[in-house]
């Protein structure tokens, strides 16, 4: 990453996030591939190309997932949190602790199985897109509490 590297302790998203995202991706792609394979045997062998294309597409999406997760990072600075994400369409968001209205921690069943969580920061603006994906579950609670405490110390109303 050459894009925006100020002096800060960057925490990158946990690599296990790649696994959970790929599981969801490949369950979907798996159904498509199986469909094409069945068609190959039932109708004509030409459908095999479809299965191949689906596999290639899946591989490409896997690469995108890998690139996306490895580009996602955040850094806690003294007064604000910086979140960066994306490779092709990339963005950096700076959220001051004093502007946080509330912090939301969530984890789906798959994420829980891999001990991951998602933290979402809400400000008074709907445009604030500050979601931390792939936070280690044991860190999530402490991170939330730390941010809430800092938010209270720096609360600036609106």
């Amino acid at each position: 990453m050459t894009w925006y590297e100020p002096h800060a302790d960057w925490t990158y998203a946990d690599r296990r996030l790649i696994v959970t995202r790929c599981i969801v991706l490949w369950i979907l792609m798996g159904f498509i591939v199986i469909d094409f394979v069945v068609f190959t045997f039932v109708f004509s062998p030409a459908w095999a190309w479809g299965a191949g294309a689906a596999l290639l597409l899946g591989a490409w999406f896997t690469w995108i997932v890998y690139r996306g997760v490895t580009a996602h990072a955040w850094a806690e600075r003294e007064d604000d949190l910086i979140v960066k994400r994306g490779r092709l369409f990339r963005s950096v968001t700076v959220v001051p602790y004093g502007r946080m209205q509330f912090v939301e921690v969530s984890a789906g069943p798959l994420a829980r199985a891999f001990k991951l969580a998602t933290i979402q920061l809400h400000t008074a603006s709907p445009g604030t897109d500050a979601t931390l994906s792939g936070v280690r579950a044991q860190d999530a609670e402490t991170l939330r509490d730390r941010m809430t405490a800092r938010g209270e110390a720096r609360l600036a109303g609106l």
């Binding site: 007064d79 990339r90 963005s91 968001t93 700076v94 001051p96 445009g127 720096r154 109303g157 609106l158």
Partner: protein, 509 residues
Amino acid sequence: MTSPVAGPAHTPVYTAPREWTRVHPISPYLGTGPILGFVAIYFLARNLPAWVAGGNEEFEALDQVPFVWLSLGVIVVIAAIIGFGVLSWRRNEFRIGDDAMYHRKGILFRQHRQARLDRIEAVDVVQPLLARIFGLAQLNVQVAGGKGSGIDLQYLRLGDAEALRNEVLALSAGATLSKTTAPDAVPTLGAEGEPSVGPASIRDLANHLGETNPVTAVPAAPERDVYKVPTGRLLGSIALSTPTFMVALGAVAVVVAAVFLGSRVGEAILAFVGTSLFAIIGFLAAIFGYFWNQINGGFQFTAATSEDGLRLRHGLLETRRQTVAPGRVQAVLVSQGVLWRSRGWYRITMNVAGYQEDQQRVNTLLPVGTIDDVLLALRLVLPQVSDESLAAVVTGRGADGGFTGAPRRARLLDPFQWRRRGVQAGEHALFIRGGWLTHELAVVPHERTQSLGVSQGPVQRVRHLASLVVHSTPGPVRPVAANLDADAALDLLDQQAERARAYRALGRA
């Protein structure tokens, strides 16, 4: 019930209630539902004789039912409407406390809301035409906290609404200044022997017909008018708006087509009008609605300042008096359409937390004004900035006046706007220019910045460009400085985050 006594010495005084109080008993029957009900009753009354006579085949089924039953049915329906109204009125109550305003309502699904006084963003007194005739008003209290978090009371006597507004604003100012000491503004009922107005009742209604200037225990903070929009200019601005232009263009096109292509086209148009009459009526209603909203929203538009915030008054049939608490304007947008350029007119819209995005009638700071009005309006939001620098900011384009413009390599991506784009972090606010046919300038005070972002798509990356996004509360202003030099955008992000931090610290101190 004390009826108002004539004479200045015994003018009854309105106060905001500290204990649970119901809204005006007429309220349930002033909405649109009951009006539809009355239309239905009128329709019934007109057609009933014909049905009873049995002349109309469509209603033959009704002839099977005896007249007595029919009448009973109608009476039951009317009784149900009135009964439901009484029930919903009994369960629609409000009061104010030292820290918050409370409202509860609902028959089956009870709703209990409180608005913390130190979080109040704006208080509006609205008088739709029907309510205005009866001397009633609606009170909308906006608090920060997303859709549906404000309190809407409809309807109160105008005096009750104003008393409530004044006390809420006074308490809110006190609550914001010091949370420990109780504000002195708390009124004591009838302290100087003045009779207080009793609770609202139906019998009382006639006494308040068309009331315009009620006396309240806590007087409204004195206000100073800053600018007014003359009616002539308002009508002119509507005549020079894009919808007028489109309507005129459409009419000219029809006439030209009819003249040059002969009567067959005329017949075709008439046939088209005949077949889709309802669509055309809908279309015309939409156009009429647009123009009506423009006129009604901007009519006699007056902006004023007062101790408890920014005051905006406007309206022809539906009047609205808004009070935006001090420092609650989050961002403003100065815009100038292509047709307004020759006249030098501008419009200003604003973001206020609590007002929703689609509410054009509450989000307008200046419906139409000259550059002088624009400067006055901006000074309301940014009192520290001098006029000369602001004038240059408003009238300049692109990189004029120390702005950072979009580089020439943005032309491919952004052929129309790149010359006009520019961003400058002033001492007190961030200014973002843009627009092509409509020139735009977004102003975000540093201490009002919520969060900031820089984004870059693949084409921008190749051209080494990036866009700076300032996140503001929901509203018509969405400040984006698009297609800046990528390094400049990131530098600005760092600087702006630091500036916003410093100004927030100032605001807290």
